[in-house]
């Protein structure tokens, strides 16, 4: 028992990641931030559309696509990886739709069947061809963010720029930000009012599938670092925390990026101290931040309720239109 929690060595845990070991931990923290920020921004729209569990489904389903792409292309090239993940992600949504429209099995069960099956196939392939794809079963679940600094760096004109996964994740985050900025109004309208969106000539189905495609890309580029299950936390935690604190969408985006940065840094320290999986520690740190927000939120906070201000405010925000969560039913059903 005594060896379980290592002694808290201030120098090792807090100082050295920022000084002597910055070369390694800098990349880890940056990668953690990029993953959590990209996931968090996409996740905000999942939350608004009540599709939180679609993130669960897609993150499990991309595994077989990823493994098959590795096996076919014999490489870990970005193109093959994205293609495999996109196909698997879209396939999972199609299977879910197929099962629940063709039979009387409801959507939740259809989802459960589809993604567990795809994930099981992925795990079996992983254990059969483990030597050829350098993924192992544990990595599939937790990822290995600690290996990021060890990846070969991408060089531009002889200057080592950054490890390949960090660059790729950075590009994905940039892509997500650009997409959100470009289609901000469309996403907003189609998330909150599918009827209005349709009358403006926006196709809710198109928005849905585009979101799923972006989700697949984000999830697959985060896969190596945080695995299939922790990525769900990366998708849901930043937005949920932010939505406890504010109801304006731009502020929700800002706060979720802040949450991503804090959980990446705090998680790295936590992981260093406990000598456990750093990816998991980042999620634990993010969960801690969520817990704080739940406790202290000005509107929904537990403290706020305990202090007895509840009766006055509860009806007001229960009925208020401001909520970030009042996504249109039709979007949720898609």
């Amino acid at each position: 028992m005594s060896g379980l929690i290592p002694e808290f060595d201030f120098q090792r845990v807090v100082i050295s990641p920022w000084t002597a070991d910055l070369g390694a931990f800098g990349w880890i923290m940056l990668m953690g931030f990029l993953v959590a920020a990209a996931c968090g921004l996409v996740g905000n729209y999942l939350l608004l559309r009540r599709l939180a569990l679609m993130g669960d489904a897609v993150s499990h389903s991309v595994l077989p696509g990823l493994v098959i792409a590795f096996l076919l292309s014999q490489s870990r090239g970005t193109g093959a990886m994205f293609a495999g993940a996109l196909i698997a992600g879209v396939l999972s949504t199609v299977i879910i739709e197929f099962i629940h429209t063709k039979t009387r099995v409801k959507q939740d069960a259809a989802m459960g069947i589809a993604f567990t099956t795809l994930f099981a196939i992925g795990v079996v392939l992983t254990s059969l061809y483990a030597s050829r794809i350098d993924l192992d079963a544990d990595c599939v679940l937790f990822g290995e963010i600690a290996y990021v600094p060890l990846e070969p760096a991408v060089e531009v004109r002889g200057v080592a720029l950054a490890p390949a996964p960090v660059l790729r994740m950075g590009a994905v985050l940039l892509g997500v930000v650009v997409l959100i900025a470009a289609f901000y109004k469309e996403l907003l309208v189609s998330s909150f009012d599918a009827g209005l969106a349709r009358s403006l000539g926006l196709s809710p189905a198109l928005a849905h599938y585009a979101l799923m495609a972006v989700l697949s890309i984000v999830v697959v580029s985060a896969f190596e670092s945080v695995g299939a299950i922790l990525v769900i936390a990366m998708l849901i935690l930043p937005g949920s925390t932010a939505m406890l604190l504010t109801t304006r969408l731009p502020r929700v985006h800002l706060l979720s990026v802040l949450h991503a940065a804090l959980s990446a840094v705090l998680g790295t320290h936590l992981g260093l101290w406990l000598e456990c999986s750093i990816g998991a520690a980042m999620v634990v740190a993010g969960t801690g931040l969520f817990g704080l927000a739940w406790l202290l939120s000005p509107r929904d906070g537990l403290l706020h309720r305990l202090l007895g201000a509840m009766p006055a405010t509860a009806p007001a925000h229960a009925a208020g239109p401001a909520g970030g969560h009042t996504g249109p039913e039709s979007a949720a059903r898609q």
């Binding site: 379980l4 059969l128 936390a233 999986s277 998991a280 634990v284 969560h325």
Partner: protein, 479 residues
């Protein structure tokens, strides 16, 4: 009833003889036929334990999964199964060995804590249930992942097999695990049998249950407790990541096969056992194969079978019925066309030539000939090469269809005030599906009218029965 019981027994015996699993990770480089023979002979105690474990797991997961599926709790099951991981790790830390009881208690507590957090989140914040489930699933799992990686760092942890709880290893099931699994299975089945009626009412008609004074919330909590127990005993065989599949998939396959809930329970248990044993078998014959994913794939195979082949809800059966229905609609439209031609001649001639039929339907004579051949095949008409004659049955059916069409047109114009030139399309569709009872009611409401909105005569019941015949094909199929 009796035959079904017997067939279940035979099935279970068959499973028992085809089944055995174990020691996947330990044996390497062994010929798979030897492994299969070892498994099938059940000689090895490890194999016997693995099979017994898979059977108990399959029964519990199948039976409780039936409730999960009909109550639309699939995602609750998923969250619960991930949330037990920190409890498994803490149970292991209790005395640094794989003590089944400590792990059982830790995992159950963690699972229940997870569901409590979901409830608290949805009650006190505006976070919706799906997000709350995802939050609990992933953050509990992260805490568990931290603990598991910390345990693996310990000298005792390395060989603990705590990582086997992620993807399952049926071969690692020992006699002590088995005793616990047996106990839980007895508990689950016993409580289900005792409170079956209450659970049924609370699952299918909550309003009625509440008005009957049933403590629905306590029934729900009891079900949640049983679900947590089941997830925990399934961990060793299937692993935390995929337990939810063993809850959902066998039960969903059963759901496609029957409408009776008690039959669904039986089928789900059988499918759960079959998937469990098959998965254990496959993972046994190759080196280093995790058990859980194979069990899940076996269950998905069963589901796929039910999905396509279920007699009532299967895709093939639906497709077949649809084909059947559209063929009948085509026949009835031909009958109607022949009737209309004959009606224009005021039924003065016996038959209708193919030429007349083709002109009526604006088609070629060849097409008309094919359609009449179809009628002949179903005993609705006879033909002498260029003229079609109704059989008594065909005449009766034709008059019925025309009556349905005209009655509906009249009903729409009289009662729904739709212009008489707009009612034809609708009547074209409904004429094929109106049942005898509806027709009687329509006739009564329309005062047994004799003419439709276009002034054509509506064949009366007397007209139809004069042409004789037993109950028609449509009548039989609608019931």
């Amino acid at each position: 009833m009796k035959t079904r019981r017997i067939s279940v027994l035979v099935f279970l015996l068959g499973v028992a003889t085809t089944a055995q699993a174990a020691r996947v990770g330990d044996v390497t480089g062994i010929d798979w036929t030897d492994q299969a023979a070892r498994f099938l002979s059940l000689r090895d105690p490890a194999v016997r334990h693995a099979v017994a474990g898979a059977v108990l797991m399959g029964v519990c997961c199948g039976v409780l999964g039936a409730f999960v599926v009909v109550r639309k709790m699939a995602l609750v099951g998923d969250a619960l199964s991930h949330a037990v991981l920190p409890g498994v790790a803490l149970g292991f830390l209790w005395n640094l060995e794989k003590d089944p009881l400590a792990i059982f208690i830790g995992a159950t507590l963690a699972g229940l804590l997870g569901t409590a957090v979901v409830r608290a989140l949805t009650a006190t914040t505006r976070i919706k249930e799906d997000a709350a489930l995802g939050l609990v699933l992933a953050s509990f799992f992260a805490v568990g992942a931290c603990l598991v990686t910390m345990i693996q760092r310990l000298p005792a942890g390395n060989k603990s097999g705590v990582d086997k709880f992620l993807f399952g290893q049926a071969a690692a099931i020992g006699p002590e695990d088995l005793r616990l699994m047996g106990l839980v299975t007895v508990l689950v089945l016993g409580l289900l049998a005792l409170a079956f009626k209450e659970l049924l009412v609370a699952s299918f008609d909550r309003g009625f249950a509440q008005s009957g004074g049933l403590p629905v919330r306590w029934v729900d909590r009891g079900l949640m407790l049983l679900l947590a127990f089941t997830v925990v005993i399934a961990l060793q065989a299937v692993g935390a990541v995929l337990v939810s599949a063993m809850l959902i998939t066998p039960a969903a396959a059963a759901y496609l096969l029957t409408d009776k809930f008690h039959r669904m329970l039986w089928l789900a248990a059988i499918f759960g056992v079959a998937a469990g044993v098959l998965g254990a078998f496959i993972s046994f014959i190759g080196p280093n194969l995790p058990t859980g994913p194979f069990m899940v794939i076996a269950a998905s195979g069963i589901f796929t079978g039910a999905f396509f082949l279920s007699p009532r809800y299967g895709v093939v059966a639906r497709w077949w019925r649809q084909r059947d229905r559209s063929a009948r609609t085509r026949r009835e439209n031909t009958l109607k066309a022949i009737y209309r031609v004959a009606e224009e001649d005021e039924f003065s001639r016996d038959g209708v030539t193919f030429m007349q039929l083709a002109q009526r339907r604006k088609e070629t004579v060849a097409e008309a000939r094919v359609q009449v051949r179809e009628l002949v095949r179903h005993g609705l008409a006879t033909s002498n090469g260029d003229t079609a004659y109704f059989t008594p049955e065909g005449r009766r059916r034709a008059a019925e269809i025309v009556r349905n069409h005209r009655l509906w047109e009249l009903y729409l114009t009289n009662t729904a005030n739709i212009a008489s030139d707009h009612v034809h399309e609708d009547a074209e569709k409904i004429e094929h599906v109106l049942g005898e009872d509806v027709v009687r009611e329509l006739e009564r409401r329309l005062n047994y009218a004799e003419r439709d909105p276009h002034g054509r005569r509506i064949p009366s019941a007397a007209d139809i029965h004069r042409h004789g015949g037993r109950s028609g094909e449509a009548g039989a199929e609608q019931r």
